[in-house]
Symmetry: C2
Subunit: 224 residues, 2 copies
């Protein structure tokens, strides 16, 4: 299905969602037209980088890790700041403590800058505006505006694909199954507490478990 002029760069965190996106991109653009980009931005658990590398290797695509040392100096969030606790509950009423302001804007802008040099016009990201995140930079309206500013700022039409945008966790698991991505889930990392096997108690573990349960599919990460 891929064509020679259609190349895609998948932002791969090593989690369930971005791994599903990688398989979506391979299905859409063809494996030889897909590469992946992972950010080493001071996340608390370097296990994420290992997971991304293993997933990319499993899928047979290139994986580049780009460092970002800026967020730590900006400070003030639970995913990079050891002094802030990670919440075990999810609320839609306010921004979660795991909010890194503008994180996805930065990720997508760096991805676009890297893609520019590699002649890639398609970016793929696993953000979703449904059911769980509450991050304003994960919404499609934000992504639409960003597509415009990136396209103008780089003088090249950039398309940001968000195949999970309107899917529930259950639907994401079903999509992974349809794409043959379920086996790869044994390599992914989701747990906010950085445990492997996962803690099963943090918000991320609970959401993941519920998605697999509702889809009626065993999670290879926890049922191996």
């Amino acid at each position: 299905m891929g064509s020679v002029n259609q190349k895609a760069l998948v932002i791969l965190s090593g989690g369930q969602d971005s791994t599903t996106c990688l398989f979506w991109a391979i299905d859409r653009f063809g494996k030889d037209s897909v590469e992946t980009l992972t950010f080493d931005y001071g996340q608390r658990h370097s296990i994420e980088l290992t997971a991304a590398s293993e997933v990319a290797m499993y899928a047979g695509v290139r994986n580049l890790v780009l460092p970002i040392n800026t967020f730590q100096k900006i400070g003030g969030n639970a995913l990079t700041d050891e002094s802030i606790g990670v919440p075990n509950t999810v609320s839609n009423d306010e921004l979660p403590a795991t909010f890194v302001p503008g994180r996805n804007l930065i990720f997508l802008t760096f991805a676009a800058a890297y893609a520019w040099q590699r002649d890639i016009c398609n970016l793929v990201t696993g953000v979703a505006q449904t059911d769980y995140s509450g991050y304003p930079d994960c919404r499609r309206a934000t992504i639409d505006a960003l597509e415009e500013s990136l396209s103008l700022g780089l003088e090249r039409r950039i398309t940001i694909h968000t195949p999970l945008m309107n899917l529930s966790k259950k639907e994401t698991v079903l999509l992974a199954k349809r794409l043959g991505a379920v086996d790869a889930m044994s390599l992914t990392h989701t747990c906010y507490n950085g445990r492997r096997p996962p803690c099963g108690e943090c918000a991320a573990c609970l959401l993941r478990a519920r998605g697999f349960a509702e889809a009626g599919i065993p999670d290879p990460l926890t049922t191996a």
Copy 2:
């Protein structure tokens, strides 16, 4: 003229344009409502950071330096990559070799993320679409689109002020004079070759000299 709820963050490179913007912001928002942000992104000449610090101290405003170690890994431009020569001529026909794809997009997005944490809604940047740069991410249309994506992505109205956008270099010098910023120009750094006193031969030095000459004002950096 500043009000208690109107705070501004100036992106200060330590050059002539951003220094003029700092004085513009002080005039517009009041000194106590202005702070500055400088990026340490692997530019070839750390003299820029010194200049920014000295300018901020001279103006009596806070200056934070944020590191960005990402561009060097993305590679391929003359301002951060030692293996690429700096051009001495300026052409409007193609992107100059000093183009760092998306650099201003990244700067403004990090600035907005930092401003978000400090309750600042106004960003000020010295980009200009007139006469010399050719960078697509310096154009007002790009900035307008970015304002929109930042405002949506951070859930807060962000305004990006570009007081130099449509000014020639001559007009920028005249603005600096009106704002009482000319003396501060002795602290600024412009030379692409990192020399102080400046080389007087690179494109940046030549443009600066022409601007001062056309404005009929001596440049305190070269005439001290």
